[in-house]
């Protein structure tokens, strides 16, 4: 039994159909499974006035900001992991480039916003923010009194994106999706969204999904499109498929520091290529350098 209708689309068609000017867009993935391929396609299709939300904007949102796609950023940590700054973001916020509206939380606050959105509750309670200046910087962080103890707990409002784009290792053609390794808030971000695009390293037979149902993170019923895009997360990574391209993350410091250099990067690797295949063709040796070794899980028995 299943929705055995295929939802497979090209990246171009998935973005064209489900990402519109003015939308709130979430491309999640905590270091792992960040869908750069989708971000690049959004840039190529020149979407505008987007509200971009994710915990760590990472290079992908720095690129979307530099390309002029973003009106607003909702986030909790805006840096280049282990390297330094996101310079397009900094220029915008420090008044050295076109302004960018920001709405800032901590990681727990962003996680809670997605959890509320996924459960379709208007808010989520958390024990947080007392003593910090974040509530002064963001009026949407409020408090609620516990009906039992009377104590004040912090609250954040639900986040329900127009579209969430999730990168994963595998899915069937209907969108039943399995992922492993760091999963961040990908499930919550998907269940919170009006539309969901799943981008995978491989499309597998339904029987593969059915052989390990506890591994399924996202069910077909909430998925609108399935895009097959091998290496679609590069320079982020996909556990079991390819490693993170840490050299590129280091290189981004230099690229993003100078607006002209950043422009040239976008011209060469985003606007200058029609799709992911062409992007990869411009990175000779990358696949060989980053391909994952084999470390297989032990199997479990689902019989009765």
């Amino acid at each position: 039994m299943t929705e055995n209708v295929s939802k497979v689309l090209s990246m171009h068609d998935a973005i064209a159909r489900f990402v519109h000017d003015g939308d709130t867009v979430v491309i999640e993935g905590f270091t792992h499974l960040i869908c750069f391929a989708a971000g690049h396609e959004i840039i190529r299709q020149r979407r505008r006035d987007l509200t971009l939300a994710r915990l760590t904007p990472d290079l992908i949102y720095d690129q979307l900001i530099a390309a002029g796609c973003a009106r607003k950023l909702v986030f909790s940590w805006a840096g280049n992991p282990g390297v330094g700054s996101l310079h397009a973001f900094r220029r915008a916020v420090e008044g050295k480039a076109a302004p960018l509206e920001i709405e800032e939380y901590s990681h727990f606050g962003m996680v809670a916003r997605f959890a509320a959105g996924a459960a379709r509750l208007p808010f989520w309670p958390l024990r947080d923010y007392a003593g910090t200046d974040l509530p002064h910087a963001n009026a949407r962080i409020k408090t609620v009194a516990c009906p039992y103890t009377g104590e004040a707990l912090a609250t954040v409002p639900a986040l329900n994106p127009d579209v969430t784009i999730v990168h994963a290792q595998r899915a069937d053609a209907a969108g039943n999706t399995q992922m492993w390794g760091l999963i961040g808030v990908q499930r919550e971000a998907a269940f919170a969204a009006t539309h969901v695009i799943v981008v995978v390293e491989e499309i597998v037979a339904e029987s593969v999904i059915r052989s390990d149902p506890n591994r399924t993170a996202i069910p077909a019923m909430i998925v609108d499109a399935v895009v097959l895009e091998p290496w679609g997360a590069h320079p982020s990574y996909a556990q079991g498929f390819y490693d993170r391209d840490n050299d590129f993350y280091v290189a981004w410091e230099g690229i993003s520091r100078d607006p002209a250099t950043l422009e040239r990067y976008l011209a060469d690797f985003v606007y200058g290529v029609p799709d992911r295949a062409a992007y990869l063709a411009k990175l000779p040796g990358a696949q060989g350098r980053l391909a994952a070794k084999q470390r297989y899980s032990s199997r479990v028995n689902y019989g009765f």
Partner: protein, 254 residues
């Protein structure tokens, strides 16, 4: 007959929150006939199950093996039901009243019941969140009183308040599929009224089996008898041992 009528209520591709017994049978009949793409979700956390045997409980291991997804119950209630992803929910109960309110908690006073029933399980949530629910229950004056002893699962109107006034997301019970006839919630009043009779059943028989002054739709429909295909599937394929075809079919929740 009840299973066949219930099956016909399901549309292909719908997401159904299903229990054991007749509802499970009805869903499998629908999948075997007009709705092959029906998605079954069990309160236990199994999604897209393809049981190799007739499950005897909603926690049956056969619902897990080869299913599309298994999730924890916090996900079942928060990410599926409260999220509004469930299109159809099946409910049954010891008592069903004029407005489709259901009692599966107690007969008599809550503090000192004459009969203690299992309770809500997930029934209250299904009644509140499923986009629409179908009540499957056999008619009798005791089972269909004017007013239930305890509202476990809210119907179309509770103490005069409508679902909208109560802020309930789903449309609630739109139909009661019984052993004699189909009742439907009347637009506006939310009262369960006689809408369709099974072959060989007269309106007066139905009125006699309901504890309130049952009203009728202007034009009463006749329900087609189960087709040869439906009967063969039910008796030979889906429930050869007759496990559920004679059950009360209210094993909705575990």
């Amino acid at each position: 007959m009840m299973a066949a009528v219930a099956a016909r209520e399901l549309r292909d591709g719908e997401v159904v929150f299903v229990g054991i017994g007749l509802p499970n049978l009805a869903c499998n009949l629908a999948r075997a006939t007009h709705a092959p793409r029906l998605v079954l979700i069990y309160e236990s956390g199994a999604v897209g199950a393809v049981p190799e045997r007739l499950p005897v409980s909603i926690g049956d291991p056969a619902l897990v093996t080869g299913s599309l997804m298994v999730c924890g119950m916090a996900d079942v209630f928060q990410l599926f039901l409260q999220n509004g992803r469930i299109e159809v929910g099946f409910l049954g109960g010891a008592q069903v009243d004029r407005y489709g309110n259901i009692n599966t908690t107690v007969i008599g006073r809550y503090e000192r019941p004459t009969v203690r029933l299992p309770g809500s399980g997930g029934a209250a949530e299904i009644a509140i969140h499923a986009r629409r629910t179908l009540i499957v229950s056999k008619l009798s004056p005791r089972a269909f009183p004017e007013r239930v002893d305890f509202v476990t699962s809210p119907g179309q109107r509770v103490n005069g308040r409508t679902r909208t006034e109560l802020g309930l997301p789903g449309k609630g019970p739109l139909k009661v599929i019984s052993d004699k006839a189909v009742l439907e919630a009347e637009e506006g009043t939310g009262e369960m009224v006689l809408a369709a009779l099974y072959p060989g059943v007269e309106a007066k028989d139905v009125r006699a089996s309901v504890g309130w002054e049952l009203r009728c739709r202007a034009r009463l429909r006749r329900v087609d008898p189960p087709t040869a295909v439906e009967l063969r599937l039910l008796r030979e394929v889906l429930d050869p041992k007759g496990l559920y075809l004679k059950s009360r079919g209210d094993g909705r929740t575990e």
